[in-house]
């Protein structure tokens, strides 16, 4: 290995750097969404999320206190206070009182108000409005500032999306709907497939090879073909659109992969165990439930993860078989698509909603990656 050893350190460096670049490129988009979900609408629309870690210069529209908070100071009416709400702060570099000239004054200067009186703002955001007449109106004076604010993150978006109860933005109901779709749609195909896989792996009967070939063929049949006939069928037997329909559809669509994965795994189990059990008088049913099923746990877990991710992330099947005109049964993916339409520019809501829906699959992914990889390898390399 001499010829490699000589260049090894340079090559290792190149490899390390290339992988770092690749990983960053793959992580960057998701990171953007994650960071954005913790920023306010103002922050998102005034600076790129990659600047969120650093102090940023922002143009903000803030308000002085309402006129009914004014006090008398000698012969002047005065409104005083600080522009930034508690906990926030910043360094103001310019300010103005008209939206056409947002940076007309520097901190410390005094501006004349249109309705009479003066206002001054210092760099820390403290302001003082003075007038010989009482201030009138019900809303506070608008003050535009250009300020450098410290990085700041908030959970407000998550509060809005999860707990506000708002019908358009709320993901809470969609979250539970998705969960309601996912769990039966994951559990039921496993049971059905496990028995079929056992028959295909360990029982001898005519037509077994043909059946396996058919299942391999069905593995690739596009979902699109099933939509219209099944919708007709569901309408025909009277279940229409609803949970029952979507559970049945997911079960049917998941079965080929389930049977295929489980059969491939079960075939590899040691023959001795099964034959010994048969000699000892165990029935096929006992062999299956007491021996095969526990031994097949890794394959069962692999398929469960696949099916969970697939049903959780699905949009098409839910749109066709579940979501009716009332929208009561909307799932998260559908809710996000709708938000894209109605709230296309409100990235704080969109990013948070998307992240709520992504969080569960990511958690499953990172905690059970081992089984997922094993399943992928069993499902495609063979």
């Amino acid at each position: 290995m001499d010829n490699i050893a000589g260049r090894k350190s340079a090559l290792t460096w190149a490899v390390n750097i290339s992988v770092a670049v690749l990983v960053l490129a793959w992580l960057f988009p998701t990171l953007g969404l994650f960071v954005s979900s913790f920023r306010t609408a103002d922050q998102i629309s005034t600076s790129g999320w990659w600047k969120a870690m650093f102090p940023s210069e922002q143009s903000l529209t803030l308000r002085a206190a309402r006129p009914d908070t004014q006090v008398r100071d000698g012969d002047l009416y005065v409104i005083e206070g600080t522009l930034f709400t508690e906990g926030r702060g910043g360094e103001i570099s310019a300010w103005g009182i008209s939206s056409r000239e947002v940076d007309a004054y520097v901190p410390g200067e005094v501006a004349d108000l249109r309705k009479g009186g003066t206002v001054t703002v210092d760099a820390a955001g403290r302001y003082r409005m003075e007038n010989t007449e009482p201030f009138e109106g019900s809303r506070g004076q608008r003050i535009f500032v250009t300020a450098t604010t410290a990085p700041e993150f908030t959970f407000d978006n998550y509060r809005t999306v999860l707990f506000s109860g708002s019908t358009t933005d709320s993901m809470a109901k969609a979250f539970f709907n998705t969960l309601t779709v996912t769990i039966p749609a994951t559990v039921i195909p496993i049971v059905i497939a496990a028995f079929a896989a056992y028959a295909l792996a360990w029982m001898d009967f005519k037509g077994r090879a043909l059946l396996i070939a058919v299942i391999v063929g069905l593995l690739v049949v596009p979902l699109q073909l099933a939509l219209i006939p099944l919708l007709k069928f569901h309408n025909g037997i009277g279940i229409g659109k609803g949970y029952l329909g979507v559970w049945m559809a997911h079960t049917g669509f998941g079965l080929p992969l389930a049977i295929y994965l489980l059969r491939n795994y079960m075939v590899g189990l040691p023959r001795d165990i099964i034959e010994n059990a048969k000699v000892d008088g165990a029935t096929d049913f006992q062999i299956f439930t007491r021996i095969i099923l526990p031994l097949s746990f890794p394959a069962l877990a692999s398929f469960a993860i696949f099916q969970f991710l697939w049903t959780w992330n699905d949009l098409l099947v839910a749109k066709v078989f579940l979501i009716d005109a009332t929208g009561e049964t909307t799932v998260m993916t559908n809710q996000i698509v709708e938000l894209l339409g109605t709230r296309g520019g409100n990235w704080e809501i969109l990013a948070t909603a998307a992240f709520v829906s992504i969080a569960v699959p990511l958690a499953v992914f990172f905690s059970m990656q081992r089984y997922l990889v094993r399943g992928l390898l069993a499902g495609s390399v063979k």
């Binding site: 309601t180 959780w312 063979k382």
Partner: protein, 335 residues
């Protein structure tokens, strides 16, 4: 009834029903129909064993037949029929197909699908191979793999949101919040671009989303294949004086060519069915239509089941070569 409760009851009924069916049908077979006693004991055991596989298979076969096999036939039939006002269908010959091929949107979808098929599997497999080869050689390779693999868990819709933020465009003069435009301006671009409306590149920008998702899959499979290469072949090449690039292209690549084909076809299947990404990001506007979304459009917006079925049959037709190839491979393996 609350859906969650309904869900729990369904799980209980579904799982309980399945287990009950299997247990009960076995009991009936063994105790009632062919009891292993009396004068026919041997014959009965054999007969029971002939029936039993079908008991085990029955629920799966019903579900597969009803939810996958029957729809293929039914969609084929529907693609040759028209809905009659007031219910029912009538044979319409190839009307649906002629109507479909007369629509420019169909040809646009077909053309775009063709480019998706050309670019996405190639790019995903290429990046996957690169990532697999590189991460296998470094200490933090497993972490790197995890992170590149992660988009696999993200829904197409979630990915669409993620990438819409990347492609976001703000009017001239405002600070750009999308990475693409920020970089574009930083590298001297004149003004921000609304990337998803620029032909023909917008198609590529949509493909990037799927490539981003599928690269991890390709990497995981190819990495396992690379590890399976016998050590001796590489050592022999090193002894013969081959450099790292020669080893990769002349020794490793030929040995994993079978796996590359599998990865390629698997991603091809995903591409043929791609729907969510286009639906969520452009909905086929700005000439980004693809077949699956075209079909969805026909089904649920135009409410034209005939043409929708015809479009589905086109997808099926494109899948068929892979289907045949897969089945042949599976049959060869069984022998």
């Amino acid at each position: 009834m609350h859906p969650a409760l309904q869900g729990l009851i369904t799980i209980a009924l579904g799982v309980g029903g399945c287990l009950g069916y299997f247990w009960l049908s076995n009991q009936i077979l063994d105790k009632v129909i062919f009891p292993p006693r009396g004068k026919d004991i041997g014959k009965n055991i054999n007969r029971a064993n002939l029936v039993r596989p079908w008991l085990f298979l029955f629920p799966a076969l019903v579900a597969l037949g009803l939810y996958l096999a029957y729809p293929v036939v039914e969609t084929l039939r529907l693609s040759f029929s028209d809905r009659v006002a007031g219910g029912g269908y009538e044979f319409a010959g190839i009307d649906n197909y002629t109507q479909m091929v007369s629509e420019p949107k169909f040809w646009e979808a077909l053309r775009n699908n063709f480019f998706w098929l050309l670019i996405v599997p190639a790019a995903s497999t290429g990046f996957g191979l690169l990532a697999a080869q590189l991460t296998d050689r470094i200490r933090w390779g497993n972490i790197a793999k995890s992170l590149i693999f992660m988009p696999m868990a993200i829904s197409f819709v979630g990915a669409a949101v993620i990438w819409k933020l990347v492609y976001d465009a703000r009017p001239v003069g405002q600070e750009q919040i999308g990475v693409m435009n920020a970089l574009w301006l930083w590298f001297g671009g004149e003004e921000p671009v609304t990337w998803l409306t620029v032909l023909p590149w917008n198609n590529i920008f949509l493909m990037v989303v799927l490539i981003w998702i599928q690269t991890g899959f390709a990497m995981v499979i190819l990495s396992a294949a690379l590890r399976g290469i016998p050590e001796e072949t590489i050592e022999a090449a090193i002894v013969d004086g081959a450099g790292p690039f020669q080893i990769f292209f002349k020794i490793k690549l030929p040995q994993i060519s079978g796996t590359i084909v599998v990865v390629w076809t698997t991603i091809t299947l995903v591409v043929l069915k791609v729907f969510d990404i286009v639906f969520a990001m452009t909905n086929g506007q700005w000439e980004t239509q693809v077949l699956a979304n075209y079909m969805f459009d026909k089904l649920f917006r135009a409410n034209d089941w005939g043409v929708g079925s015809a479009a589905a049959m086109v997808i099926m037709l494109l899948v068929t070569p892979i289907l045949v190839w897969n089945v042949r491979n599976a049959r060869r393996e069984m022998k």
